[in-house]
Amino acid sequence: MAGEGAPTWEELARSHGRFLYTVAYRLTGNREDAEDLVQEVLLRVRRGLETYQPGSMEGWLSRIATNAFLDDVRRRRRRPEDLLPEDPDWVLPPAMGADEALAAEVLSDDVQAALQRLPEDFRAAVVLCDVVGLPYQEISQTLGVPVGTVRSRIHRGRALLREALTRA
């Protein structure tokens, strides 16, 4: 389907709906928000199909989904009652040196819960890297930050995840 011209709205849902829903769920952590995010993505797609550049459809959808997700996070942050920590100090904790072994099998619910505990900017970088599989350069373009920042967010995000999974 990639290649000639822009895909239709229906082609997108048919061929990439499950992928898009998965990305939305990994970003938001619950079905209700995932459904809202998917709807927002398809609205943006509908408005912006003419700007589609033939290439990786899933990369393109992931970029739109991530931007819509982070837009929503920023909107919520403007409301004081929803204020989220900008720079939590639980980054790469020294306790990481402890000798706890990660259980051989970590339930995906635990991993999803650990993802939810990441600051959204880190979560977006980790999801784009490890769920979507984008290279750092594309993650950098998606998030509008330098590649060095992408490296840092992915690494710190993984360190936080590992710490959360150890406690799970």
Partner: protein
Amino acid sequence: MNGHPGDLLSALLDGELTPGEEGGVRAHLEECAECGRELRLIGEARSSVRALPPVDPPFGFFERMLHPRARWARAGVAALAAGAAASVAVMALAAPREAPVSPHVGQFVDAHTASASTSGDPISELTPAAAPVSFQR
């Protein structure tokens, strides 16, 4: 390499280092047990996320988004029933509760089943969703 590689450890796992950087990080890892341990822990977190399964949307989710007519029809029936007398209520009861299933549904199922079992991209390689069985084809 001066100091510990830090962020470069994740980039090493992701194949995102230049050959020069990679050589430096690997040389450091041969001498620094602490960074070797951090690399292992980071690798475990990375694998945990990569092993997460795809998530299926609720049944009919995209159908309802793409073809919301069935919902509109039900809403219209409900409005009539609310605003009118018993005869209208009887009509509402007699009206079909579901709009006829669009013939596109079968195509969606086929396409989804086909795409879910197509190799070539990492998401599609995962277990295909079971094909719904309740459609009248």
